[in-house]
Symmetry: C2
Subunit: 307 residues, 2 copies
């Protein structure tokens, strides 16, 4: 359903925390759910003005009349009391999250789906104060969620299969790509992968092999467009010819291992930071994320049309 | 210049080795250089028939009449004697490469550019038998080079700046993205980065966190399209808000380090291979690389049009 058609959906969605991720989710939900069924709960004193000026930046085109119909409140119990979905993106702080789920569980309907957008605090830690731990599920987006299709669904060992299944259906009905992560782990999957490549990137810039900007050019003109179309396993399976991924490792497994053996093991706080941050600042200054997001949408459309 | 306009170029290009990479480079060169100025040198006995049937697969649309005008030979000295560029993609074998450059140097014009497409054998190893070691340069493509814009230029310490500059100009004039790698290193830059992500990918599949196909979906719906538009440093610089990459590490440096500390350290030959290869085989079977390449072209066009 496009953003210009009339939204039809009986979800009642409460967004807890109106930061970048929260508003981006609101922009996404507005493509499917009427604004009067969406509630934003945040304690910032200028909430109405902030939402009115910031949310339209996530819409293409901006739709101010729709934005003004969204419910705004700073009171969590009333914000969740009629919700079918509560989506939390508060501070990344375990004390905050375990407290807020206790409150939400006490006031939300018993069958509401309870989702955390956390990038790092697993559901089995967040749910400690909950009576029914089967209800909580991490639904971790890739920023910004109104553009990027991926949603990592990371259940705790207590999360019920019914909650997972309803969440999968919700996102698939909206044309997104939910993937269930089968074990709670540090950083989940997308960030772990990206940070592994980032670590090697920092090492190569530290060693003076390329500049930060040259490294970005390398990625933008090789594995970026390739992986937009076919992920690493599919790509190397194709690259191995008739013997697939097995053939790939037969052909260049030695080079792969050589790169692994030689790979950089930089750590945060080891002193490489300032020189790298200055390179990024000099190369990029302020990045126009609107332009980036328009290009990303075009890329995703191109892949969809060709698949 | 598009492939349908009349090629105008005075390069005389000799491709040594008619494998996948060699023919893909020929398809690229044919967009700019008349076929009578292109020579393919390969010792396979069915060379003419092989080129006539295989090369059109790399062309869109196939142009059989142009293909038939390319010079074909198995004799290396005559193949290179009038070349302005010799591009080698023979076996990844140091004895072969050091021998072939000795022959090429003896027979090619003194000012011909000498490029190796190797993915692993640095120029300072390949050039041992050459009298003038300033001439040899690694020009490593990302497969397939007729689609992917990146070319990694990896000089040896002896390679002359003039050779690097002429090579940069050649590829930039053709709308490609040559990047000079400032130090010879195992796997150069693109493969090192991709293999770092591949290592973590294998670890996560081994641990049962996701299947190989799910991992590909994660990449295709998050960092793939993102990095097609903005590489990792630019992306995280934008993600850090007003404080850029510095802000990014201030906000989530702890999570980044946590992922690094927890990262998998699988090695080739440790026994994970069969289960992974079977997953890839079951998920993908035979990959239609023509379809993949059409989608990749569309992605690259979308990025170009929006930048």
């Amino acid at each position: 359903m496009s953003s210009s058609s009339t939204p039809k959906d009986d979800s009642r969605i409460t967004i807890v925390g109106a930061g970048t991720i929260g508003l981006s989710f609101v922009a996404l939900h507005l493509q499917f759910t009427p604004p009067e069924n969406i509630t934003i709960c945040d304690t910032r004193p200028d909430l109405a003005q902030y939402v009115a000026t910031t949310l339209p930046l996530y819409q293409s085109p901006p739709r101010h009349s729709i934005v003004s119909a969204i419910n705004l409140t700073s009171d969590l119990p009333s914000a969740v009391k009629n919700a079918t979905i509560v989506q939390e993106q508060g501070p990344e702080n375990l004390a905050f999250k375990s407290k807020i789920w206790e409150t939400i569980e006490a006031h939300a309907p018993k069958d509401a789906l309870l989702w955390s957008s956390t990038s790092g605090i697993v559901a089995s830690a967040q749910n400690v104060n909950m009576k029914d731990k089967t209800r909580l599920l991490v639904v971790h987006p890739y920023n910004p969620p109104h553009i990027m299709p991926l949603l990592e669904l990371v259940p705790s060992p207590q999360t019920s299969q019914a909650v997972i299944d309803q969440t999968l259906k919700f996102w698939r009905d909206r044309g997104r790509e939910p993937v269930v992560i089968k074990k709670e782990c540090t950083g989940f999957v997308a960030n772990r992968l990206a940070f592994a490549l980032l670590r090697e990137s920092i090492h190569l810039v530290n060693e003076g092999v390329v500049t930060a900007e040259e490294l970005d050019t390398v990625v933008e003109t090789s594995m970026g467009p390739r992986w937009a179309v076919a992920g690493p396993f599919k790509s190397y399976h194709a690259g191995g010819g008739a013997r697939g991924l097995r053939g790939f490792f037969e052909n260049i497994g030695g080079t792969v291992q050589g790169c692994w053996d030689d790979g950089g093991k930089v750590n945060v706080g080891e002193g490489w930071e300032d020189a790298l941050f200055e390179q990024a600042e000099e190369a990029y200054g302020w990045v126009d994320t609107g332009k980036r997001d328009r290009a990303t949408k075009r890329v995703l459309e191109a892949v969809r049309e060709e698949s």
